[in-house]
Symmetry: C2
DNA sequence: CTGAAAGCGCTAACAT
DNA sequence: ATGTTAGCGCTTTCAG
């Protein structure tokens, strides 16, 4: 073979240094500046003395060729690329969006890039996403929000947590329960059950006895916890749990509206509604209002999440405030500061507004 | 130096193949399975015949070592990593979130990863983000939404577009005007000015002559276009433009509420409000309502964007529908199918709901 | 101050 | 069917 040629790759003979399509490499720059590759590298890094005249020539070549470093080559030499990955159901959910914002803010503050994946709530896709992010060498993989989990899922996720840990990365469960004490994962929770307990208590204290638990599914971790809080409050007030007052519904606004409208048409066997999310509460409010009933005059309503759009509802919604942004920030912080306590529980509190009153049939 | 040792790196003597911290490499796996590195590679790729017994040994080693491929090394050999990057102001904006969702959906469908960066609306950070994404070797860099642009900014962005293009990537302007005909960038716009023209027309047709243009800033591309539509509608109806009826306000809900409340307290010199976004309309609605006025009885109100939370406003908002999700999907599609037309204009249309009536002082 | 050489982890071509 | 060799683009010794 003739010197200076690789077998099939591009020609490296000095004679043939015409700009090719694709990004320029250090070699291209070096040739153009008439110096060696390491010299160019040193000019860029700026951590090593280089003669002024040389530096100028190199800088000129750099500019003319519009050189952009290849991150992958860099990452290959040094350690993994500085990025945190986060995986969530759907960016359109207002509470998810807040968490995402917290993550991005904190990640940017620490000079990290963000990788994002969405799953539409499919546990299978979530597992795949975690694997993908692991391959990418993310420093942390943050899982946001609820999942429909079963034992098989938990087993796989546990093994992924271990695998990430061994690779020097970290799995973070954000707004979702721990996978067990032995699992090397960071957990950032909020007082989910307690918040549900507290709002339900508001309804009960106002005199309601038939409270519809509206929305969510048992297998979803988030709504399961909220249901637990609801039941505990009932128990504390000596009200027997009635399974017919649990109306599961998908986490979607319009579905909620339709579902409640239908139930209302069939029978009105409740005086208050605990909607598992503010979005569902919005749908519920619409169904109730359109049925010619008033909130809170005829039916009281509470939500959960305290997301901004809920402020625009009339009457204003009594709900549970969740520090979503802080949840996101904390997730990044803990994943990156491994000194810190790796399991935190953020507080929630009820925000009292105008959607709760005493039951009508009691007056 | 003793054989099998690199000068400072890790020991590569066969005797010392104890698992180190960090991820296992092909070499580690190969040693454990007693085969060569390429053999392991072939087992993983599965595109080349390997003896069954060998394959089994390799697979065992792979599992035991929890091998995860190094994406950077792969990317270094082959072409750039399959990822699309998108850059936006803030994930919490409901319209941005919809675009983001469209992008993610389409990117996932095409097996691409998503990289995300937020800028808080700072043009400087946006430029930096584009540079960062370029270094990452993203296949496309999608810019979402409005910017405050000036000539210096446009010049830099144009040069980045060229640079990305030369590197085989693509800059995509999504919901934002072109940088000029010569610039190698993809543009996915929507009929922004026309939508503004149309809703304003609704107000004018209902008899309004004093329409407050509420929100946005001149230098922001999006609101500038909406203002242009507003002015054109005015002109077509023979209504003279009155600069005092332009009330600029930040793209934030609460600020809008406060601003309109204050203006209303000072004087009520308008009978209708054109809010540049639905979020601002929500704030406006609140201010108007709390001032003891009714919408649309006393003041008519229209918004822009037709985002889901706006459905929950009472009265329901007449607004302009923008196909945000499709905007995102199209951005990805065009960036990846370079055969396709690289400049598209998506339609908008007015959605008539209940927030417009004839002006009160006319009845 | 600069260049030559080595090697990060991986894969594709080439030789057995 | 498997191993040897080479090289992606970069940084980091080491040698001059």
């Amino acid at each position: 073979m003739s010197p200076g040629k690789t077998r099939l790759g591009r020609v490296t003979t000095k004679a043939d240094q015409t700009p090719r399509p694709g990004r320029a490499t250090l070699k291209d720059v070096a040739f153009r500046a008439g110096v060696s590759v390491p010299t160019v590298s040193r000019v860029i890094a700026g951590n090593y003395p280089v003669a002024v005249s040389t530096r100028r020539r190199v800088e000129k070549a750099l500019r003319e060729l519009d050189y952009v470093a290849n991150t992958h080559a860099r990452a290959l030499r040094g350690q993994a690329i500085k990025a945190v990955a986060f995986i969530l159901n759907d960016v359109r959910g207002p509470s998810f969006a807040q968490v995402a914002h917290g993550i991005e803010e904190e990640a940017a503050r620490r000079g990290r890039l963000c990788l994002i994946c969405t799953t539409s709530g499919d546990p299978e896709r979530e597992l795949d996403a975690v694997r993908l992010m692991r391959e990418q060498g993310a420093e942390a993989v943050i899982l946001i929000g609820s999942v429909r989990d079963d034992e098989a899922y938990r087993r796989q996720m546990r093994s992924l947590a271990t695998s990430l840990d061994q690779a020097g990365s970290r799995l973070v469960l954000c707004g979702r329960p721990s996978l067990g004490p032995e699992v090397p994962a960071t957990v950032v929770e909020y007082e989910n059950e307690a918040g549900a307990y507290a709002v339900t208590g508001r309804l009960l204290a106002a005199g309601h006895r038939r409270v519809l638990f509206f929305g969510g599914e048992d297998e979803q971790t988030t709504s399961a916890q909220r249901l637990a809080g609801y039941r505990r409050a009932l128990a504390d007030y000596g009200v027997e749990f009635d399974a017919s007052l649990v109306e599961p519904v998908d986490f979607v606004r319009d579905v909620a509206y339709l579902a409640l409208r239908e139930r209302l048409a069939r029978r009105r066997d409740f005086t208050a509604v605990f909607a598992v999310t503010d979005q569902i509460a919005a749908g519920a409010l619409r169904a109730v209002t359109e049925a010619g009933l008033s909130v809170p005059g005829d039916i009281s309503l509470v939500g959960y999440d305290d997301v901004p759009p809920a402020t625009d509802l009339r009457p204003q919604l009594t709900t549970v405030h969740v520090p979503y942004e802080e949840l996101g920030r904390t997730a990044v912080r803990l994943a990156l500061d491994r000194q810190a306590e790796q399991h935190v529980l953020l507080g929630t509190h009820v925000v009292i507004r105008d959607s709760v009153a005493a039951p009508a049939d009691r007056a």
